[in-house]
């Protein structure tokens, strides 16, 4: 994945995530606000509905109070208590009744939702004295004939009203209108407002009662608010329901369902809370419930208004989200621009590296950030180092090849010279006089020496080439070397000690053998006059599969200022006469050690005499 793609992906995800989160939060806030606003609207609608409802009932109450104060009421009481004639103005009982009936008729004519107006006496089982009514679906207003008037003492409103003080008003619960004991069809919900009447200071003579058609009042409630409306009795029956067939179950013998339908608002019904607004997550509605006090001495009914907030709320969100989305898009554009801006120097740097020639330097682009500047410099250094290493390797290979070819090709003429010196000596040696034979001897020994040098050079060049690493037990290998040099060891009466810690390691067997062989034969060759040589081979493990070896002898030692030179090729410390050697043995040793990624040096010996050769060997990886 490219750097651009990575940064762009990171920025795009951040911006998208941020926008989504912001949108979510905005929507949450908007939703909360919306619900709150709808709740307030709904509560206000419920308050208005309640006020209108109370106003309507209050209007009926005023009417009833007015009726109770009309002259026929008292006139009729006076006439009845005076054998049917009013002592005050001589009007008969019947005259008062007719007058009252006229008032009732006029009242019903002016108030279309008044169903009945009655004057009920206490005497004779609560017998109706005057009754004017309007039948359902019928515009005609009729006064009930005297013989059809009934006793109403058993009706709940009879005792309910007469138990009040004068001037107080009774309001009945709403129920379906009945005519002669049966529920009239079509169903008409009614309520009754009544007040007791009688002579001042005397017990109640009777009551004035008006039946009111509640349909309009209820439908007013139904139209409050934007959603649906319910009116619920404390027992769970509906007075008002969007589905009219579910109302007035108490009159029709159905079971109440309000508690099951509207469980969230039931606290208002059962615990008589003054107001409750709840959010119904399941249906996505807000419900507000408010008690309506109707019937005297009874629990209030509950007005429940609902409004949906889900589904309707998508549209109001969009204007809120628009700025969020706009900011998101702007951030995205800025982010992508920033990404390009960030990646640009890297691209430039890459281009500069691409355009680099094999030998030219890195043209570091100008104006890079410090980090990239550092990177460019590091890169430049690495490239330089790599080139230097390549050059060194190439030159090493060339040198090795040169040494090999040179020594290989030099051997031929030297060999020929040596061969013919031999023939010369054989055939004409005896003919030479004076120093002639010595000259031939010097020449022959020089050719031998030169062959040795060339062989040494060739061998040095070939060290490690084509060798494969294997597991080598150095203790065992040294044992073999000691066995090979047994004759020389015996001749010098030398002692060779091999330490137990000499390890087994992966290395080049032939080269390691040559290393040990050179060191041992050096120690044997360069001993002190008259002292039997003692050579100790020891090793100890270092970390990382590396071992340090020590080869200690009791010979003449190596002066401190010569210690580096002995490892150089063809360097010899001793005169040819004192000790014979090609001067290449230690150079071989150091090359073999470095083939094993080790180092070689010389330390002071523990005793007075001798030298200590130290070297490290690192295991060769397969």
């Amino acid at each position: 994945m490219s750097l651009f793609a990575r940064i762009a992906a990171a920025i795009v995800s951040l911006v998208v995530l941020g926008t989504l989160l912001t949108s979510f939060v905005v929507i949450r806030i908007a939703d909360t606000e919306l619900v709150a606003a709808r709740s307030r609207d709904l509560e206000a609608a419920a308050a208005v509905a309640e006020t209108r409802f109370v106003d309507r009932v209050a209007e009926v109450k005023r009417t009833v109070t007015f009726l109770a104060g009309t002259p026929p009421i008292d006139g009729l009481i006076r006439a009845q208590s005076n054998s049917g004639v009013d002592p005050k103005d001589g009007s008969s009982d019947k005259q008062w009744r007719d007058r009252l009936a006229t008032i009732f008729r006029e009242l019903l004519e002016s108030q279309p939702y008044y169903v009945q107006a009655r004057y009920i006496g206490r005497a004779e089982g609560g017998r109706e004295l005057v009754r004017v009514e309007r039948h359902a679906g019928d515009t005609e207003i009729r006064r009930t004939p005297e013989k059809e008037l009934q006793g109403k003492a058993s009706e709940p409103y009879f005792e309910g009203t007469l138990s009040l003080s004068r001037g107080e008003l009774y309001v009945s619960p709403i129920n379906l209108n009945r005519e002669r004991g049966a529920i009239s069809v079509p169903h008409v919900p009614v309520y009754r407002v009544a007040t007791p009447v009688g002579a001042p200071g005397a017990p109640h003579f009777g009551l004035i009662i008006v039946n009111v058609d509640a349909r309009e009042t209820l439908s007013d409630l139904g139209e409050a608010g934007a959603g649906q409306a319910y009116v619920l009795r404390p027992d769970g029956h509906y007075l008002l329901h969007p589905d009219p067939t579910r109302t007035f179950g108490f009159d029709l013998g159905h079971a109440p369902t309000g508690a099951a339908d509207l469980p969230l608002v039931m606290p208002v019904v059962t615990e008589e809370l003054p107001l409750l607004t709840v959010e119904d997550e399941a249906s996505g509605r807000i419900l507000t419930a408010r008690p309506l006090f109707i019937a005297t001495g009874q629990k209030p009914v509950t007005l429940v208004l609902t409004t949906a907030y889900r589904g309707l709320s998508a549209a109001p969100r969009l204007p809120l989200l628009a700025p969020v989305l706009l900011i998101g898009a702007l951030s995205l554009a800025l982010g992508l621009f920033a990404t390009r801006w960030l990646v640009r120097p890297v691209t430039k740097l890459t281009k500069a590296v691409d355009q680099m020639t094999d030998t030219g330097g890195l043209a570091v682009p100008r104006g890079l950030a410090p980090e990239l500047q550092n990177l460019a410099e590091t890169l430049e250094h690495s490239i330089d180092a790599l080139r230097a290493r390549d050059r060194l390797e190439a030159s090493n290979r060339e040198l090795q090849q040169f040494a090999y070819l040179a020594s290989h090709d030099l051997r031929e003429p030297i060999r020929t010279i040596a061969s013919y010196l031999e023939l010369l000596d054989e055939d004409y040696g005896e003919l030479l006089e004076g120093d002639g034979q010595d000259f031939i001897r010097f020449m022959r020994s020089s050719t031998v020496r030169m062959t040795t040098l060339i062989d040494g050079l060739l061998e040095h060049a070939r060290l490690g080439s084509g060798a494969t690493a294997e597991s080598v037990d150095t203790h065992e290998l040294l044992g073999e070397v000691v066995a090979d040099l047994a004759a020389s060891i015996d001749a010098k009466e030398a002692t060779v000690f091999l330490g137990d810690e000499l390890p087994r390691l992966r290395g080049y067997r032939l080269e390691l053998r040559l290393l040990f062989q050179n060191l041992l034969s050096n120690a044997l060759k360069f001993g002190r006059e008259g002292v039997a040589p003692e050579v100790r081979f020891e090793a100890e493990a270092r970390e990382n599969r590396t071992w340090q070896f020590r080869v200690t002898d009791n010979g003449p030692g190596i002066p401190e200022d010569k210690r580096d030179r002995v490892f150089e090729i063809f360097q010899r410390l001793h005169t040819r006469e004192a000790a014979e050697g090609s001067g290449i043995g230690l150079a071989h040793c150091r090359k073999i050690v470095s083939l094993h990624r080790g180092q070689m040096w010389i330390e002071d010996p523990p005793g007075e005499h001798g030298a200590r050769f130290c070297f490290t060997l690192h295991e060769v990886e397969s």
Binding site: H408, R411, E412, R415, T416, S419, Y420, L423, D455, L458, E459, G466
Partner: protein, 139 residues
């Protein structure tokens, strides 16, 4: 003590040929010594019959490796494909450096190579070759 009838030296170095011829003559083990300066000349010699239709078929060949025109390796490849009546008895490869293992292994990989020696040929090594292949020819 039957001498070898013919020894073939294939080498471009006159000095070496002279020296080798001297070692062989001193040993007195061959009636004739033929010299050829490179592989191609040697192949031509081996594949040329005399008037009687007989090929030279020297008993012993000393073969140098570094030669112009056709070197020792190419000679060996060509020699392998000669007819049996054209081939020599024993072919010994002469190596410039005694410890060049690669060259030694390469020489011995040829079925037709019997032995290898380091240059120059010395009386002791000639004797070894004779002992191995022509014990009767040792004087």
């Amino acid at each position: 003590m039957p001498k070898l009838r013919e020894i073939l030296l294939v080498d471009d170095s006159d000095a070496d040929n002279y020296f080798h011829r001297r070692v062989i003559n001193k040993m007195g083990c061959a009636e004739a010594i033929t010299e050829k300066p490179h592989g191609q000349a040697a192949i031509d010699y081996l594949t040329t019959a005399n008037d009687a239709g007989v090929y030279p078929q020297p008993e012993l060949v000393f073969l140098d490796i570094n030669m112009p025109v056709m070197n020792g390796w190419d000679f060996l490849v060509a020699y392998q494909n000669l007819r049996e009546e054209q081939k020599a008895g024993v072919v010994v490869v002469m190596l410039t450096t005694s410890f060049d293992e690669q060259d030694r292994d390469r020489a011995l990989a040829f079925d037709v190579v019997s032995d290898h020696l380091g240059k120059p040929l010395r009386p002791e090594s000639l004797k070894q070759v004779l002992e191995a292949h022509f014990p009767d020819a040792i004087p």
